[in-house]
Subunit: 334 residues, 2 copies
């Protein structure tokens, strides 16, 4: 088989050797059509393995870790996927790390910093609590997504999140507007003013404005998985069967609740209304389709990667960005 040189590729593609080298090094200063032509010629010539290609200078980018708290969580998965879509062309390489919902993502960060020399972190989901103190001496930039890090004590912590208090209020208001008063809230344990606490506070704002009292026994703590929500919902609705509506702090939880209600012979939304949170793709196809609070996944992803790279490569200060979420009305509330 003929071994092609970089000169052969340049000649076949009708470009300069410098341009081929730029394409190989994924430099931004090559226009898209030229890049594609060169890549096509390289593919046709099977240029990958030859010595010239291997001998070219290649960039050594930093490793960045995207750490997701919670497994099999479609919302976190879609966020990570969207983030990775925004990393193309960057010198840095992005690892994805999943930790259990009950595990310590900050210890995972410490471990990755040691093990893999990871130089920057994006935390997806979770919260900042005292466990995060182990990050205090890390000089790596970190971006917290879906939660605010404005009050965090770390020098290089940025964050991208939605206004959880406003959206918690919007979710509850949707149920109140539909005439419900015996409303349950399914969510995570509230710590300080983390995202769950804000969603809860927003829901309380709406109830207070409406003059509807909240029965504390209708706050249900659950894992953020379909199976966790399913089990919790079965127990809850056996104890509080007169509940007519639920604000679920994630779409995953909402689907677990709806499945449990269905198995208990109750129909959603005819017997019980359920509003979710996050706006995952599955919610558009679930039966019934989920009414929910939609987080702008692509905006959160793009901003997170941008802020991290600004901090890492240009030493810019951390920023805190609030992005717009919206209520999406479908079929699960009436």
């Amino acid at each position: 088989m003929k071994i092609y040189t970089i000169k052969d590729i340049a000649r076949k593609a009708g470009v300069s050797v410098t341009t081929v080298s730029r394409v190989l090094n994924k430099r931004p200063d090559v226009n898209q059509a030229t890049r594609e032509k060169v890549e096509r010629v390289m593919a046709e010539c099977r240029f990958v393995g030859n010595a010239n290609a291997r001998g070219l200078k290649q960039p050594d980018g930093d490793l960045i870790a995207i750490i997701l708290r919670g497994r099999e969580n479609p919302f976190l998965n879609s966020l990570a996927e969207a983030m990775l879509a925004h990393t193309h062309g960057l010198k840095a390489s992005f690892l994805t790390e999943f930790v259990d919902e009950q595990a310590d993502e900050f210890q995972a960060a410490v471990r990755l910093s040691h093990e893999k020399r990871v130089k920057g972190f994006i935390f997806v989901g979770g919260r900042i609590d005292e466990r995060a103190d182990v990050l205090q001496d890390m000089d790596a930039p970190m971006v917290f997504t879906t939660i605010s890090a404005e009050k965090a004590a770390f020098p290089r912590a940025a964050s991208v999140y939605i206004d959880d208090r406003a959206m918690g209020r919007a979710a509850m208001q949707t149920l109140l507007d539909a005439g419900h008063t015996r409303i349950a809230i399914f969510g995570g344990i509230r710590v300080g003013d983390d995202g769950f606490a804000k969603r809860y506070a927003g829901a309380m704002d709406a109830l207070k404005d409406a003059g509807v009292p909240f029965d504390e026994e209708r706050f249900v703590q659950t894992r953020f998985s379909m199976s966790g929500a399913y089990d919790t919902a079965q127990a809850f609705f056996s104890a509080k069967p007169d509940t007519t509506a639920v604000f679920a702090m994630s779409d995953t939880i909402a689907m677990g609740i709806i499945r449990a209600l269905t198995d208990m012979g109750k129909s959603v939304p005819a017997d019980v209304s359920v509003i979710g949170y996050d706006g995952i793709e599955m919610g558009k196809f679930f039966i019934p389709r989920l009414t929910t609070i939609e987080q702008p996944v692509d905006d959160i992803a793009r901003e997170s990667v941008q802020i991290l790279m600004d901090m890492l490569e240009d030493n810019k200060p951390p920023r805190h960005i609030v992005v717009d979420a919206k209520l999406v009305t479908r079929e699960s509330v009436r």
Copy 2:
């Protein structure tokens, strides 16, 4: 704040300095309890940022890429997630790369090889066709999952997959056993004897044995997404309303079909039975719960990582492993 040295950590944890160093370097020769104790002490002392820790020798592992073909695909996501769970403690770092269902994952591999010096690949989903020829000169080990690479021309290609022909037969047999004869198949385009072609061939085996003819117009090519299957199903059932059962080549497709049927006023399984493929978590909670062919995600993930590391680190020859799938009977067929 006190800066702790590695000696301090060793003393506090009651172990030798060598042991602390081993834990930091994530060496396997430390027992779990000791490792956890040392990590706890390091966390308490915020050992991360101090000069001693940074000065320690750290391993420089290779980069491996897990390339997923198809976005927002819960089955591929769960496979990647399971693979990552099996990479803990390895020196290598694992990147995850998503490419569009219609995109070229092999070009992505070539690009990663250039851009990030990626040294090994795990392909998740997709197929091996002529586009894969660009891999022929790569000396990186690669593992194809969910498809066979036994006939691939690459010297270092391994694979882990289920017996798609047998499972395609099992899926169709399930519909035949329920008394159906006007059966549709929704799947990807069949190329050579790739996974989709095998599933289709298995379905034909079952039909032939049963003496039930197959109406070619009831093979429906679709994208592997809920929205793709939804659109395709609406068009198909308008044209062939007498169809009483569907073999969907993924659970995602099955859910899109069921949603479309529901919107057309048809009930699953009362009016139409649907069997899926893959066995994703969501299938246990969907309404109706999906009857499906369950792929052993954790087995595929564990074997894939193991085979790749054996090839990469110990220069072992590629292996081809067939893992056991099973029929899971739930609610969507009757």
